[in-house]
């Protein structure tokens, strides 16, 4: 029983990271109707940047926040330079460019920092203030940090004028233009936020999976699964979906062994896309002739 609780709590902790990735994926999907296959690699690259700053002697939290800012700007830059010129291009072109981005970040990280595994520091204390074996300090810490960040994002969208403008631009771009919103800059902003959210996810999971260029692939897959489960048109749903996948992962592992975790994500994705493509909270998109 204790083991079960341990696994579930651990699952919630990793679920927090899946929720970050899922949210980032859905934000970009809402902005441009495409999947950012490079989301994981961007997060990994951000984590490497933080590692580098710490290696040069920076304080963890300073590096953490600087990385968020750099990632935010980087996300906007990628959108403006690479994707804005392509916005009328066919689907295949977009897919190829995302995969190319995947390749660039993956190989780029390998080129700059090598493919050897590195340790990534955890900012949380070695021991919890209270005694328990159910959850470790880093797991608890990363859940809290992620929840705080998600809360801030939620408040941003709900209560600020720009957040409202971004929601409007995603929902009805033409009407948004008619009130003076620059939809194209809202898309850029969405990219910046997605990159920043991904960066937080990467930095939080790196201590657990160890820092190396290929660390995010499985996490990206689970993030996608979370987004699909929650509903690709619902950011809130994506977050819920991410946490759900986090809990499903260890439970499935206990049921069918830990060697098939990625296959579980594959099965979830395929089944949901075929039978309930709108996910738990999303809306069905009608395809016009």
């Amino acid at each position: 029983m204790e083991e079960l609780i341990q696994q579930v709590l651990g699952g919630i902790a990793t679920g927090a990271i899946y929720a970050c990735i899922a949210l980032a994926v859905v934000m970009i999907y809402q902005a441009i109707d495409h999947f950012n296959f490079a989301q994981g690699e961007m997060a990994m690259f951000s984590a490497f940047l933080t590692w580098q700053m710490i290696d040069w002697g920076a304080n963890y939290w300073v590096a953490f926040f600087v990385c968020i800012v750099i990632s935010f700007i980087g996300g906007i830059a990628i959108e403006r330079i690479v994707f804005a010129p392509l916005h009328n291009a066919p689907v295949f072109t977009h897919i190829v460019v995302f995969i190319a981005l995947f390749q660039i970040f993956n190989a780029g990280a390998g080129f700059i920092w090598e493919f050897t595994i590195k340790e990534f520091p955890s900012p949380f204390p070695e021991k919890l203030p209270f005694d328990t074996v159910l959850i470790g300090p880093h797991e608890l810490g990363m859940t809290l940090i992620t929840l705080i960040m998600l809360g801030l994002i939620f408040m941003f969208f709900r209560f600020t004028p720009i957040g409202l403008a971004m929601r409007a631009a995603a929902a009805s771009p033409e009407s948004a233009r008619l009130v003076g919103i620059s939809v194209s800059w809202m898309v850029a902003l969405g990219w910046g936020l997605a990159a920043a959210i991904g960066a937080v996810g990467g930095m939080m999971i790196a201590p657990v999976v160890y820092l190396e260029p290929n660390m995010m692939l499985g996490i990206l897959l689970y993030g996608f699964a979370g987004a699909v489960v929650g509903g690709l048109t619902s950011p809130g749903g994506a977050v819920v979906g991410g946490f759900l996948m986090g809990v499903i992962e260890p439970l499935a592992g206990m049921a069918i062994g830990s060697g098939l975790k990625l296959t579980v994500a594959l099965v979830v994705i395929v089944i949901i896309l075929i039978f309930k493509p709108s996910g738990l909270f999303g809306r069905v998109v009608v395809q016009r002739v």
Binding site: P161, L164, A165, R167, A168, A171, S172, E174, S175, A176, R177, L178, V179, G180, I181, S182, V183
Partner: protein, 236 residues
């Protein structure tokens, strides 16, 4: 030069030409209506003024050329477009819709005053201020669309078939309010309508479009009085 001057406007949807060089003008404080059957190019005309369609030709607003500019920049010249189908942001509240209308305004006091003004014109919206806009009735959504346009303190308002799908009493109420807005707020209006009678009652001048060309123009009195025009083009 007139407040809004359109000269030889051509509009294209891809390879298809929808407007074949139309010209018209609107005086400050006036209301002009554009009439015509379905597919005549009325909506295209409004969309062209707002930069939503590929165009050729000259569009000048208050002395400034706005042809070829991006929609969001034209809006900043205080041109408000109440689009066909209302363009409501259905998943946010009534009040958030109005707030979005005020996106180009900086001062919060202006925004608050603006909302009060809109609520005074449309008290029903005030009742539904926190309701999700998609749940409002057709007439209420139309009022919301006009209200949202008002929030940006427009000097020119473009209205695309505001009477569409609404009950006659509501339409009458709406048109009365439009008239009031025109005189009290000095908002010039370019009105596209299928309901010619109502449009001609409200407007000073009228242009009649047929397959992308202006076939008749004149004051509303002239056009309403002319039997041949009424029978051939306006159907009554």
């Amino acid at each position: 030069m007139a407040f809004l001057e359109v000269v030889n406007l051509e509009a294209f949807y891809g390879p298809i030409q929808a407007l074949h060089g139309i010209s018209f003008s609107l005086e400050q404080g006036g209301i002009t209506t554009i009439l015509g059957a379905n597919g005549a190019g009325k909506t295209t005309t409004l969309r062209s003024i707002c930069g939503m369609v590929k165009t050729a030709g000259q569009i000048t607003f208050d002395g400034v050329s706005i042809s070829g500019k991006k929609t969001e920049n034209i809006v900043r010249h205080r041109v408000a477009h109440v689009p066909e189908g209302r363009g409501t942001f259905v998943r946010v509240t009534t009040e958030e819709n109005l707030r979005l209308g005020a996106y180009t305004l900086k001062k919060s006091q202006e925004i608050a005053d603006g909302m009060e003004r809109v609520y005074s014109y449309f008290p029903r919206l005030k009742e539904r201020r926190n309701q999700q806009a998609g749940t409002l009735s057709g007439g209420e959504q139309q009022m919301l669309a006009v209200g949202r346009a008002l929030m940006l303190r427009p000097r020119l308002m473009l209205l695309d078939e505001p009477s569409f799908g609404l009950a006659p009493l509501i339409v009458q109420e709406l048109f009365e309010i439009l008239g009031t807005i025109n005189t009290e707020e000095n908002v010039s209006m370019l009105l596209v309508e299928q309901n010619a009678t109502l449009a001609l009652k409200l407007a000073d001048n009228a242009y009649l479009l047929e397959t992308g060309r202006v076939v008749i123009s004149g004051t509303s009195e002239e056009i309403s009085a002319d039997e041949t025009i009424r029978q051939s083009y306006l159907g009554y």
